[in-house]
Symmetry: C2
Subunit: 331 residues, 2 copies
DNA sequence: CTGAAAGCGCTAACAT
DNA sequence: ATGTTAGCGCTTTCAG
């Protein structure tokens, strides 16, 4: 029966009373045990265990200015790209004893801004995935709070970029090697950083390899958009198609099937981001996205920035590879 | 140029100095403006705006014991079931001015427990989705912290359950109506609450409708498990199959295709949870899961519990419907 | 209607 | 090696 007038959770005071030491000692037993005798540390730890003590982060935050929390904000958590990335980030944060706030901006820059401001004091830093805010707002926040961007390239701010160019180029080379002459690129939203990158990579590699490429717009990067693009791909007489992402590729597979074409016998298909795993039939050849690494690395970078505020403006580009599965075959 | 010696964010003190009132007044201007003259409230708000003031949640938490945060913990955020649910929860929390912590337990009960304890003081309540912890631990936490369960049925603790039974029964009825006589049920992990529920519903409805049903184990609830189950479904001479969830159904589609069977001409397939949307070809007939509502409602319930601690032990069961798309056809 | 003062749980000098 | 003190930013009595 601990001597505690407390209604709520046990505090360092309760432990101090129980053990018969000062509250500072209890604090030190957790924060800087090397300053205490082994014996007292042990006693304090035992008492803490017995009382079911967990440090009050809010109080610690107030005192140290270090909340021990991080936040990650995405435009849409329901996008297949996000969850593995978030998961990796959560794991990384957790392994450093940090908790993670999740924000979903719903693609709305204003919401994103408010969300972030509300979180500033509760966190030590942010990871923003494909932020929708204008450069100016991002810089404004970055000035007062450690910040790492994923898939947004603003010089002066630390960022990790998933560079799909190498993978996409490899995809084109792969198609050339298996004798395709004319391919289609089914694009995504033209404003997107990734779309520009991918389209450019296709063009460059196709020129180099002597392929001709037909550009098909899909605009929305949805399954249906991909499905509807199938007829355009056929009309273009392409024997292979590279899609903006896996979802579009998946739709394309369906559309092709629907029109009576067989993949990969009649036509080859390649996706991007590799978010579907092998969960299509036939298993989709795709460009790996390394979003898991991106999530983990962003957190690690953020933690470094927090420890060493002089480090900022690091730019990491993760290159990508082609993962060949079953939707590509020789013409 | 505000008169602030502060390195960090502006505080109520800064505002107080600027306006020439006491810190209490500034505090009240936000928390209880009705206690102040309209005029001072206006002046304070304006100054706050100018300084870019955002209240320090940690400090408020320390003082009031109400951190203004909630947490949601899932076994695996990468599971297709989670993201829409989390998104809905995030939105609901946000609309009440609350921020949301995200925890991913990685299916590990011990991790889940530590995670939660670390979050207790920083949050006003938890939503646990398909918790992996034993009843005892859950109850232990529920005693000291407001808690709402999703898809876990423990009496004495508030919970929202997605009851797939009605939808699954409707699926069986639907198959009976279109003249199927023998169907297969491709099950999931037998420990799961959902699996027991679904299997039971299939059995009951089949008896009632005079269908015979063959139980095929898949065990892991993965795309591959579904694909491999295809041959067993064929071997059972079933003309239709109901799968544990959409992912298994999707795999089944692939497996059937691979074996040369056409869906729905040769065999009908029905999924559960409706997480794939229409993103399969043919578009999958499925049992709606209402996880979005579940996420939103869990947060609302939690908020109610926090306001009115006497309310606990509410049990909400969301019923489900069959969504008929293109993978079912008359035998 | 507004100010003064105390305190939430913890950490960090500064003693000893 | 440990105790004492002050203070982090905010809310909340209690006085005016």
């Amino acid at each position: 029966m601990p001597i505690s007038k407390n209604k709520g959770a046990p505090t360092i005071g309760d432990i101090a009373d129980l053990v018969g030491v000062s509250r500072s000692s209890v604090s030190r037993a957790f924060g800087k045990p090397e300053l205490l005798s082994e014996d007292t540390v042990k006693k304090i730890r035992k008492a803490a265990e017995k009382l079911g003590y967990f440090p009050n982060q809010a109080a610690r935050a107030l005192s140290t200015g270090r909340p021990g929390n991080l936040a990650i904000v995405v435009p849409d958590i329901a996008n297949a790209f996000s969850p593995p990335l978030i998961r990796a980030a959560q794991l990384a944060a957790d392994s450093h004893g940090m908790s993670l706030f999740l924000g979903d901006s719903g693609e709305d820059p204003a919401r994103e801004f408010t969300l972030l401001n509300r979180l500033v004091v509760q966190t030590e830093g942010f990871v923003l995935v494909s932020s929708r805010m204008p450069d100016k707002k991002i810089k404004e926040i970055a000035e007062k709070h450690p910040l790492v961007l994923i898939n947004r390239d603003i010089s002066g701010i630390s960022r990790v970029l998933i560079d799909t160019s190498p993978g996409v180029e490899a995809a084109v080379v792969h198609l050339a090697e298996i004798k395709h002459k004319k391919i289609a690129y089914v694009g995504g939203p033209s404003v997107s950083w990734s779309e520009q990158q991918r389209r450019g990579a296709v063009r460059r590699a196709a020129e180099r390899e002597g392929l001709t490429v037909e550009y098909v717009r899909s605009g929305h990067a949805t399954f249906d958009a991909g499905r509807e693009a199938a007829s355009a791909v056929i009309a273009a007489k392409a024997s292979a198609a590279i899609a903006f992402d896996d979802v579009v590729a998946h739709g394309l597979l369906a559309g092709l099937n629907e029109l009576g074409y067989r993949v990969p016998q009649d036509i080859s298909v390649i996706g991007c981001d590799d978010v579907l795993g092998a969960a299509t039939y036939p298993a989709l050849t795709s460009v790996s996205a390394r979003h898991i690494e991106a999530g983990r690395m962003a957190i690690e970078m953020l933690l470094n920035m927090i420890e060493e505020p002089t480090i900022s403006n690091v730019r990491i580009a993760l290159d990508t590879k082609l993962v060949v599965r079953a939707t590509t075959a020789p013409r």
